[in-house]
Symmetry: C2
Subunit: 390 residues, 2 copies
């Protein structure tokens, strides 16, 4: 049937490598194991990160950027051997840009559970040196933030000037303000939510099931598979779900319409597996992802997003929001079908109702959820409007 | 991993049975093979149908109901051995009801390609008596409508008083008015579209890929599999995609919130495969579907929906709409994320712009696409408003 992914790496591609380019690695001391929120603990945890600009002597100019699901520490800069993709906010970060590295010291870390240098399911288990695979525990956004806090200690950053991120990055931003209210001076959560909704969980669950259905996933222990024998089909289907929810109906219609990529509906002979252009596009994105991302990391991070709830164990969302005492700029996107803008309006509304300071800004774009990675002018204006105020 | 579907039927459950209850079968004469739109031809075609009420002597009181993706001919009546589910419009059809069987002769046929009595992939291939399986051709909505036209001939119905249906049923409704303008006196397309959009195709494609990924699908030739060894996982995932798009964000949030069905996020030990309530709900619907529906029929009908385009081969949608000369009541649902209401407004708008007669009515419901199966009072009022006018 489907052999299109046969020349992809089966194993090893995401194992912790040497520092490359601007990427650095911070290893938590073994005696300071990361206690996990809903699982066990992790020891020998490494966090991969990159920085731009120079930390001021008083460490007052540090900004933390938090990446989304399949992102990594490479927020800016070209693609190269160590970074399979260009910076996900390339054009927004640099000297004289919206996040001005002449002024700020900017940090971005690959999340715990990831596959671009930080400890994740493809990393070596300390007990036997073999990949964690199915042994990697469930983690939460709070676990990710705790690891970032360790990194901040390591870098000498007591308080972030701002913590900024979209989508899952925005979940981390919110947890930073709730977990460490004295370690942030402002936050900019973008296209995100206070807690994952049932529909968001449902989308995540579909991708999860598709991966589980892939016989090459092997219960999560596929790292010794022969080249090309990894769970790419399942991951590609999971990515298809995400990719549709990341975009919008009208942009899909404008971009792809009903064009066929294979076969021809006007002639006889169209077959079940002949594709429309939109399917080719989704295949292309699935292909791109499986070349650079580990399937188990996709599962682990997706589960962390489903478990995201700033109210959990804190008496609910309203009580948790009361801990947010710094200025908040909540950014929404009107065409976002995955994180509808009512969620970002709610962040601002609840902060204000709790006596805090919050503004809401909406990105005017038809591109759906992904607009926070596309509409850099609007994102930049929003970011600078808050950074200038703090 | 996942053995939850092990006691489902693997084979035979959807083969053509004897007439049961009110269900009747019409077999097209072999010499009148159904020429297919984009494939080959089908011979020995059977159409399963049910009727309610009595055909008038002048055959002027016949209404055709067209069912949706996983529907069947059982539009009204209780579940029984021949009908695994109660009528999909139970409560709307009967003496004194909105579709009044004291007045009208009501017909509903299982679509070509289906699995509830009409010829589909699980039916016997005339060449060898074995199930078609992978040999079943791609069909289109037009093929489905042509088979219904043969049934109308057989029943002595020259002209339908009205043709009515939602979702894929609405696609058939529109094709009836375009293909056979002199055989309909009115149409009521509900929650449907003139052509499948790129986003709709994308959702369909995801389900298709999940089925293909299921090793038990066996390329479509799974009918001789051992009991419990059918492609239920793939079909269940495909159904999950559909079920999320059939409903709405706010109703999911109200109904399920973030409740866990398994595990407990406040205690340690939540696992990757512990489910939220919304996942249990989706599992439940997947389970229900695989017990009554053939996976290959799901693929064939889904492909027909993706190929739906009333403009194909007719000079485009606007030119095709000019053939619609009868009164049209287009019904939309404001909360529908799968067939957004702009599509139903467009049907009415284009008909009027072409000089025809069309009204648009919107169902006020938060329940999303499925509202046409839920909000029977509103659907009934809309239907009677047009039936009374014709």
């Amino acid at each position: 049937m489907s052999t299109q992914h046969r020349d992809y790496p089966a194993t090893g591609a995401w194992h912790l490598g040497d520092p490359v380019g601007t990427r650095r690695f911070f290893s938590l001391p073994t005696e300071r194991a990361v206690a996990l929120d809903v699982g066990s603990t992790l020891t020998d945890v490494t966090v991969a990160y990159e920085t731009w600009g120079t930390l001021a002597a008083d460490a007052s100019n540090a900004i933390l950027l938090c990446h989304a699901w399949t992102g990594d520490s490479h927020a800016a800069g070209p693609a190269d051997d160590g970074h399979p993709t260009p910076g996900w906010w390339e054009g927004l970060i640099g000297p004289g840009l919206a996040i001005d590295t002449n002024q700020f010291f900017v940090v971005c870390a690959n999340v715990l559970g990831g596959c671009q240098g930080s400890t994740g399911p493809a990393s070596a288990h300390p007990a036997d040196g073999k990949p964690y695979g199915s042994r990697f525990p469930v983690i939460t956004i709070r676990d990710i933030v705790r690891a970032q806090a360790r990194l901040a200690d390591h870098l000498g950053v007591r308080t972030w000037h701002s913590v900024i991120g979209g989508s899952m990055g925005g979940m981390q931003v919110l947890e930073w303000a709730v977990m460490f209210p004295d370690r942030v001076r402002s936050i900019i959560p973008i296209a995100t939510c206070l807690q994952a909704s049932a529909q968001q969980i449902a989308w995540g669950a579909i991708g999860r099931r598709a991966i589980r259905l892939d016989p090459r996933w092997r219960g999560g222990d596929y790292y010794d598979a022969a080249p090309g024998d990894g769970p790419w089909e399942g991951l590609a289907i999971a990515r298809m779900v995400a990719q549709v929810t990341f975009r919008s109906d009208n942009v899909f219609s404008e971009k792809f319409g009903r064009e066929l990529a294979d076969g021809n509906a006007d002639k006889s002979g169209i077959e079940m597996w002949d594709r429309f252009e939109v399917e080719r596009y989704l295949d292309h994105h699935g292909d791109k992802l499986v070349r650079r991302f580990d399937t188990n990391s996709y599962l682990v991070i997706g589960k962390a997003m489903d478990l995201h709830d700033i109210g959990r164990g804190r008496g609910g969302v309203v009580a948790a929001v009361q801990r947010i005492t710094v200025p908040v700029l909540s950014v929404g996107i009107w065409s976002d079908i995955l994180y509808p803008s009512y969620q970002q309006r709610e962040i601002a509304r609840l902060v204000v109702e709790a006596g805090g300071h919050a503004d809401y800004v909406e990105i005017d774009s038809p591109h759906g959820h992904d607009s926070f990675l596309i509409e850099l002018d609007q994102v930049g204006r929003a970011v600078t409007s808050l950074l200038g105020k703090v």
